[in-house]
Amino acid sequence: MLNLRFITRQVRSSGKQALILVLCVALSLLTLVSLAGFSSSVRSSMLKDARQLHAADIIIHSHYPLSPGLGSSIEEYEKQRQATGALVHEFYSMTTNPAREKSILSHLKVVEKGYPFYGTVELASGRKFSDVLVKGSIIVEQSVLERLDAGLGDRLQIGSAELIIVDTVIAEPDRPVSFFSFGPRIFIGAADLEALDLIKMGSRIHYNYLLKVHDPAMVDRLAHELATVAVVSQERVNTFENAESGVKRFFENFLFFLNLIGIFTLLLAGIGIQTALGALLRDSEYTIGIMKAVGASNRFICSHFIIMIMLLGAFGTLLGLALSFLLQLYFPILFEGILPASVKLVIAWDAVFEGLLLGTVVVGLFSFLPLRRVRDLKPAAIFRKESGAARKGWEQYIAIGVIICFFTGLTIWQLEDVTTGIYFVLGLVGLLGLTALITQILLHIMRKKRPTGLALRQAFRGLFRPKNATRAIIITLSAALSVIFSIYLIEQNLQATFIQSYPPELPNVYFLDIQPSQRAQFTGILGTEPPFYPIVRARLAAINDKPIDRKVERQRRRDNLSREFNLTYRNILLDDEQLTAGKSLFGNRLKELQQLGEVPVSVLDTVAEIGDIRMGDLLIFKVQSIPIRARVTSMRTRTQSQVRPYFYFVFREETLKAAPQTIFSAAKMERAELAEVQNRLAEQLPNISVIDIAKTIEVLARIMKKLTIIVQFFTSFSIIAGLLIIVSSIFATRLARIREAVYYKILGASSGFVLRVFTLENFVLALVCGLLAGLIAQAGSWVVCSRVFAISYNPRLGSTLMMMSITIMLVIVVGIGASLSILQQKPAGFLRDGE
């Protein structure tokens, strides 16, 4: 009887706050469910890409035929119909066109039926690969025809067999896996393998056993079982997910980014709900005080508020779910052409269930602390505005502990990695602690300030008015904004990495082993002067006469100082380099150095970091056992504005010109042009090897472009949702604040004055939050980018400033929006109420 009426009355009286709570829950649910839905679709689309990159689920690689143990295991799986296998032999061989007496090195791929299990080998004729590749026939890359002066229907001699060219290949799904190839591709059917007679003692064959697993869930298990029977260090068992490929790291980074956005959204949702809830309960403190005064027990009050919150939460949840259904309905229309067709919004039912559970748990967890405040509220609170701090009992610490544990659990679950998850949460807690600390310091400083302008003074006072939860608002708002800033910054950096990795002018062909005497002739053949990168191999023997400890160096995880280095020489700084120390590459004390028998060297900061090399240090290199005493005259860093090969150690041309060296070059050229250049090189400079990676770049660039679009979409989706959540929580907290505006009006202040005070107050609040969030987001994004993604980090100060300005505008507009209703009313209405 009383219960329901009380609850409905309470909801009605704090209608705006209740509405905001419902909206917060609904928005959070909408975002979580939709993101989960996208994620699973994007994930499967990406897994499809990853599968296609390897053309199989499990790939076993060896230089020898399958060991008996592995062979019988696979046979067993095939018998049980758990998997289907196809053996692919890959090796180089000379291919001859007998009619023209021309030979080239080609990269053979002898495939069994079934290859490729995923993706398709596209042929120029448009026919199906498996139909075309019959016994006695081969499918070749276009350049095979060009370089051998052959055509379709011609016979080519490979090993002991003569095979007929029946088609040309346009695209091969797993090309990037073996992209670094000294010769063009030729496909041969397994039926002709024996006739080739190339597999014998002294042959170097890549045996790739491809497996398609019928139940996708079994891939990891089968791979694990196979790995246990494989011969160690001879047979490598990989799944399409963990096999090395040029884009593996990108898939990993991208999937991690999806997870990250998931966690961030969760955090935003939590913060939003908590703020709205806190504001709602603070708003009700007066009522609660009176209720207590007339003898309502804590149980009565708490149970009623819990029921009320749960009802609102349930309503918000339902609304959120309904909205995500609507979004799913209109998604294809809304985003047609923006996202790849393979990405769809699906209502993942487990995501819905997850969302419901999360909604309930988050509402429950975050209502505990405000409700505890309610419990501790003394009835006398309605008379006096005591500034006594809330009691911090063990329950509060437990509640905070439970919340942290809950998020740790969720994070670990989302990241599927315990250590990373724990580091992540520790980092977040640390950042939150830092926010609280800085907030405290700022508030302390601001409290001491007494500005001269009345409006500004009032604004400052407003922030420190008792019960005006300024600190809590700053902490939650900063945390929420940091999350959004971080998403944006990380996305920008990922984007830069993705896009800059494949600029349109990226070289698609490399030339190896150009001899110094061949430079001019090579330039002539190419028609333009290409960049030349001379390479001199040398070992670093000592730094400042302290020998390199090879044992220690071998322990290093990434690069180490004991390996052979590629030295180069040039007298200029490259476009993408900057000096960080020294006025010029080689300084101005050449003569001095010469007298000491030393030469100048410029060192890249990366290797300087590894070896703790500093300006003025003496490096002793050994070039073919001849020592070179090199004095560090400058330090360089790479700005990454352009992609180019880089060298740790740069010498003067005079120093290394006579040393044994080869030259490497790169160029971007069209197919037809390349064929011509290759033919001319074969005639005139046959020692130069050509690596054509155009096909690989095409495949990778296509994938990258797709990822880029998806990343953009996800980021904007979560940022917009996050902003809406933030807007509603600002609205909630500001709504609680405006009651105080009444006093100004009662005392005869004009609306203009009140507006000014409010604007200033919101401005100060937003400025503090914006600065804090900017700081935290920079720190957090740097850690995520450099430590987790291992990509370069650009602080993007312009973007950060822009985000801060938007924040300030947003807080002011929303804050004033929340107080408009009060501003427009006459104070008499409030006077009557007396309080």
């Binding site: 000379m94 090195l105 002294g202 990495t497 890249l604 044994p660 080869t662 074969a682």
Partner: protein, 234 residues
Amino acid sequence: MKAHIKKYESQKPYKLLIFLLLILVVTGCDRQDKPSGTQSQPVQPAQVYEGTIIAVGDSLTAGLGVAEEEAYPAVLEEKLQQSGNNWQVINAGISGETSSGALTRIAWIIAQEPDIVILETGANDGMRGIPIRVIKENINQAIQRLKEADIGVVLAGMQMLQNFGPDYTKQFAAVYPTVAEAQQVILIPFFLEQVAGTPSLNLPDFIHPTPEGHRIVAQTVYPFVLQAIQQNSR
């Protein structure tokens, strides 16, 4: 901020390409370039040798994947010392080098005035499908110059992987005896005798010998080097 430090370690696909490329340029096929050797003393105590041998070659000489003291030149020096030949063997192997590269740096080798050069090259050419005539001409010229500088030459015979096809492998293998015959230099018939193709003596990459493999190589090379030393002292 240490932000800039990370960026070079970041392996954007493009960078990865370049990285792989640079490694490949110089190591042939293996991207993992293991550190090797302890020849770290910049200034070694002067030791007087009866003579100096420079082992010129590619990764098979440099000892890719094993420590420098496990590579064949070091093992060979040990063997020589043990048999009373106080000769020094300098490892001048460059991983990934082709015969063209070897020819280009032969002047540098000559400048060091060795008594004997063991010339082991051509394997990388073969694996890139470089025309046989190019390999033959390079080796021929290199030996010519060494001889002009009055340096004793031991040519390491090499064979190409069988999968390159019967014509190419036959022609390739024939390069070494042909040149040795023409130039009248000592020929090791097959440098990787008993090592090539044996799984237990090669690293998982199928190409580079294990420390045990290098010992067998030194064993194979040893008598021919002795022969060269005898010729030198005559």
